[in-house]
Subunit: 362 residues, 2 copies
């Protein structure tokens, strides 16, 4: 199949810095090529890819000067793709809604993965206007605020099978990995570790917008000798950091659309103790790959149990459910669904306009 | 002619608050209708217009809650217009470059007025990509940073002939009207008034972004009994405020693309003492409708001379050069130029791609 993958331009594919969307686009592109498809990747010029690369800018926008106008480069990219739309069998967008008006006439050969949170107040306006555009979510939970929109399915993220390997879990510490932000619950992670009496290592970046929160809410908690803040770590350090941990703590306080770190932990055989918001119940299997809890006390109680879980079994569940290969095959099935059902662009639109619900049985 | 006018949605047409672009779109629309044309206005739902109004949102975006996503409403508007593009003879955009990819195929029945400054670093990227889109500037000076772009002309702004009437100039004060911002030179205005020994009245709003500048650079200068800060004034107070003034001070420190207040002053017969940046030499006629100066000393020297200028003659120059009627006729001439020259969309594109310069002899 001739496939166009359309990435945001904020980070390269894969990202040099934090950037979940561009990382998933990179993995998906590589897998589709491995499965024999012909892929053109629309992404920033510093991307690494086996696909044909079409770049409207030399460098990822977040790396360049702050004055760069993202809209200009995204519009340029979409315009160039539009000119070549006939060349592709399917066009897979990861660019939120910006491409909707330009590709409304091509809706039945496109698919749009929404990577972000969907409870923003203006999103219903644009999803109603462009109800012909087939949408894919990255979890069932993510669809909730827009459950009436034109979903043709969900595809859980996946990682290359060999990106991480089974770790020993012998480091004797709990792990927190990601961003320091209130919705990620680093304060709860610290409370859990202290009450469990187990060391916590926090590998996290602090965005400028969260600097205040870090200094006032988190920094004072770092005095405890049990708590170690090691800052942001690189992609190649993650496997070791997660694999040596007793468990990953994921005490979120928001409806996380996916949470890549969850499956990174599973890939190393490390169980996850997670609060059950958003995508968590779809990813973590309670008592098998971790524990889903409601509060700090339950998380503390889960720590000794986490040590008892079979790390080999956790890794096997990763291999069964969260590889990039599975993700690519899921997307291919949706590509065929979009293409195969010629009536799709009209029929579900009318149905959905009437307020109907259609969840793919994915 | 069937004309679509496409306004930004930040303010209504006309704006309830500050908003030069939406105000010009409003005047232009009214005049085109008066001249017998059929106009559909794409603008916010709280606009007042004699045209058929097509509104993607009930209220101007700047008035609503801060969380409104402007992109969503502008994209929705452009999509709806695109669906109806065949209905119009000409589509006149005032929405910067956002519509470019969606209307590239209709370039030869569109015209885009650029209202802002054009010395931003990424603009050449998009202007090169969309070199088929016919552009109009609001002054010759505005074109300078993108002089190679696809300009088909310039149209100086205009105001309804009867919006303001000839004032007496008897208020005994110099006037400063607009925003408190470094590039507008309120500090220079104060220096000019003090050295001239003439009272200055400052009618200006302070945007949140300029609050610091106001408090540190301007507020301390307001102690002088000669200087009076009267805050933001309404549209209906402007005529009296300007008409009673000895002269308007316009001591700008940036390449102003137009400067509506200049022609508001001329409409009341009030001369302007202006620094010669940007559009100023195209609007002010030195020694007839005001004085163009290079520094504070020259501005001070001009104050007594400004009192000698013939206010009736200034008002006549306004009527000859800056009415909305003239503006509408200028635009109509450009509409015909775009439509009349069927080869326009192709030929100049090739020519311009080769780096050629074409300035309309407007």
């Amino acid at each position: 199949m001739k496939i166009a993958q359309v990435s945001p331009l904020y980070e390269s594919c894969p990202p040099r810095l934090y950037g979940g969307t561009e990382r998933i686009v990179y993995y998906l592109t590589e897998e589709l090529i491995r499965l024999g498809h012909e892929v053109t990747l629309f992404a920033s010029g510093d991307s690494q890819t086996s696909a044909v690369l079409e770049a409207p800018c030399a460098q990822a926008l977040r790396l360049g000067e702050a004055r760069k106008d993202p809209l200009i480069y995204h519009i340029t990219m979409l315009h160039r793709l539009r000119r070549r739309a006939a060349e592709f069998d399917i066009i897979h967008f990861h660019t939120e809604y910006l491409h909707f008006p330009l590709f409304a006439d091509y809706a039945d050969k496109t698919l749009t993965t929404l990577h972000g949170r969907l409870d923003l107040p203006d999103l219903p306006v644009i999803m109603r206007e462009f109800s012909m555009m087939p949408l894919v979510s990255i979890s069932d939970a993510q669809q909730t605020p827009l459950c009436w929109a034109n979903w043709i399915g969900k595809v859980l993220h996946g990682l290359p099978r060999d990106l991480h390997r089974l770790g020993s879990g012998d480091g004797g510490y709990l792990a927190f990995l990601g961003r320091i932000a209130p919705e990620k619950g680093p304060d709860r992670a610290i409370a859990i570790a202290r009450r469990a009496g187990v060391p916590l290592q926090i590998a996290a970046k602090v965005d400028p917008v969260d600097r205040d929160y870090f200094e006032h809410a988190i920094a004072p908690l770092l005095q405890d000798p049990l708590i170690e803040f090691i800052g942001e770590i690189g992609e190649n350090e993650k496997g070791g950091f997660l694999g040596d941990a007793v468990a990953l703590l994921f005490p979120i306080d928001w409806p996380e659309p996916f949470g890549l770190v969850l499956i990174e932990a599973l890939a190393t055989g490390t169980p996850v103790i997670a609060f059950g918001r958003g995508s968590v119940p779809e990813i973590i299997e309670d008592g098998l790959t971790g524990f889903i809890v409601d509060d700090v006390a339950a998380a503390v109680a889960a720590v000794p149990w986490a040590k008892q879980l079979d790390r080999g079994a956790i890794r096997r569940r990763f291999e069964e459910r969260f590889t990039a290969d599975r993700m690519a095959r899921d997307y291919l099935a949706l590509y065929w669904r979009v293409l195969g059902d010629g009536s799709h662009a009209d029929e579900p639109k009318l149905f959905r306009a009437a307020g109907g619900l259609t969840h793919a049985a994915d």
